[in-house]
Symmetry: C2
Subunit: 339 residues, 2 copies
């Protein structure tokens, strides 16, 4: 019943002894590309297998220039998009042989200490997946001296990578389907006015509308991407202007809020009376209860690109940060009246 912690720690020395070679030989066998003869490699591998040996990643990291640990810095999961993006990211990191270490910045706590604690482990790079992250936290990442890859967020410096969805394209895709299907009076519901993503999505929407000779009837920024914000925005917006027949929301959760508000309080039918279009394509969008037509953020493509950049930064030398926009995709379901 009682449990005794009993981890046998096999080391290079043990394997070397059993294989009858030097510790260097063992080390080389586990270092891809290092020179070892087929014979010794064989003997080392079989000894290692017999002993159940695996190199201690901590010790290895101490002598190498990298640790294979990637810090993911984020705020709270206050929006279904975040866990979704996060899941794709960790999955890709694993495939690339990286171990994700999590840094969740608590809005009630110290904005920088958790970041320093991750840095103590000599993480190779900081992936900042941060909508709701305090500016101080972001600043700490940038000043850390460690490569930073920002997700979907703008930064005032040009020394970090930024990867984000092509928000202008997204806005244009929303505008196009709405106009092509005969909508006349359109509105945009954004998140935080200050955030790049909300700004760009709105700009892309308006610009495409302009190009088709249509003006925007109304625009509102909610301060967040949350369901509640969307719910309230819909109420106030549609009370003001009842002829709006199409709304583009800067996130799916905003769109869900809009849809529910419309159903509960306004007595309008979606999409018959009003079309709603979201952005993200979180799994919930395909639930029959919503059937949300939306602009998909390509989380897997984003994650893949992040992995590429991690590899890029991992080789020493003069480096050039990039700002990369990943194309979005229109997903047609039932919340937009067609034809």
């Amino acid at each position: 019943m009682a449990r005794v912690k009993n981890v046998i720690r096999v080391t290079v020395g043990d394997v070397a002894k059993l294989a009858g070679v030097s510790r260097s030989a063992v080390s080389r066998t586990f270092t891809p590309g290092a020179p070892v003869s087929a014979g010794t490699r064989e003997r080392v591998l079989s000894a290692a297998k017999e002993l159940g040996y695996r190199p201690n990643a901590l010790a290895r990291s101490l002598t190498q220039s990298h640790t294979n640990i990637v810090a993911i810095v984020m705020g709270e999961f206050d929006n279904p998009f975040q866990p979704w993006m996060f899941d794709a990211l960790t999955r890709h990191l694993h495939r690339g042989g990286k171990m994700p270490m999590l840094v969740t910045v608590d809005l009630a706590g110290d904005p920088v200490e958790p970041i320093y604690r991750a840095l103590d482990f000599r993480v190779d790079v900081l992936v900042v997946a941060a909508g709701s992250l305090p500016d101080e936290s972001v600043a700490a990442c940038i000043e850390s001296g460690v490569p930073v890859i920002m997700l979907g967020r703008s930064v005032e410096t040009d020394i970090v990578d930024v990867v984000l969805s092509d928000n202008h394209m997204a806005g244009a895709q929303a505008a196009t389907i709405l106009i092509n299907s005969g909508h006349k009076s359109l509105a945009y519901v954004g998140g935080s006015e200050g955030r790049l993503a909300s700004k760009e999505r709105g700009e892309g929407f308006v610009l495409a509308l302009d190009n088709m000779g249509v003006g925007l009837t109304q625009k509102v920024f909610c301060g967040s991407y949350s369901y509640q914000a969307g719910y309230e925005a819909a109420l106030s917006m549609l009370a003001l202007d009842k002829k709006i027949d199409g709304i583009f929301c800067a996130s799916d959760s905003l769109a869900f809020g809009v849809m529910d508000a419309v159903r509960d309080h306004l007595g309008l039918k979606i999409p018959h009376d009003l079309s709603v279009i979201g952005m993200d394509d979180v799994p919930m969008s395909s639930w029959p209860g919503y059937g949300l037509t939306t602009i998909r953020q390509p989380v897997n493509k984003i994650a893949e690109f992040v992995l590429e950049r991690i590899d890029y930064w991992s080789v020493p030398g003069e480096k050039q940060p990039v700002l990369q926009r990943i194309p979005t995709e229109l997903i047609v379901r039932n919340s937009v009246r067609l034809g």
Copy 2:
């Protein structure tokens, strides 16, 4: 424009030199409880501050019996409960000074390799937050020799901690409110029949019903906790038996599926014609669109307890694993017809 990686690595030696003390003294200053005179501590601290010194956690881990890294082993985020639990867990780990390292087991990939890779970093403990985790992965954790804390899942051994919601209590809470508010024909919608949680919730529900002299009208296991599963279950269940007026679902997402199926296809009003009660209390439950009455899983209490157990396992000696059930809480909203 070009970015040069330029991390200055200050070491104990640098600080020792500046402070005019030995490296041991520096080390002791950063080791809580170690003997250092106020004077040297002062000098060390100020030197450290001037240099921006922080102990290298990797090197430190190499000489100590612990690393402060906690592995979180999980499957996919296929259910809103998981990110919610995960968020609470990581938050508490940070508060306890632990760094979470993520191990997501890909169903398409190797079920054990990612776990070994985490073990290579000498994680202190494995927190297995695993509904959908393959048995092989779970076995690998248990055999690792590292303390294991299982979340909401049963195990065939008695050498690991298990912490989970009090599922019997949850079932009883659901039964009680349903019966007290005059429901007559009740059904249970579970997840996987084989899983402890789904089984226990159903048992608790039936047992409480029994005690009140009521039988269960119908029971179905969906194989998962997903929205889709709930949607389909509702369709087939209610087609079979139209007089059911109360359904207890083993998860909120199951309940959302049931609600939407009922609204879309059965023309029943919730809660007027049919009451639905969920389990988890994920944030979405409080969205006006659902207003789900549910049994809350105390994620923060669970996370707190996990932290306690991590501390417990961290001190050496004869150890005793525990199975801890955390009380659940009824959250009343609008999906159950009252009185």
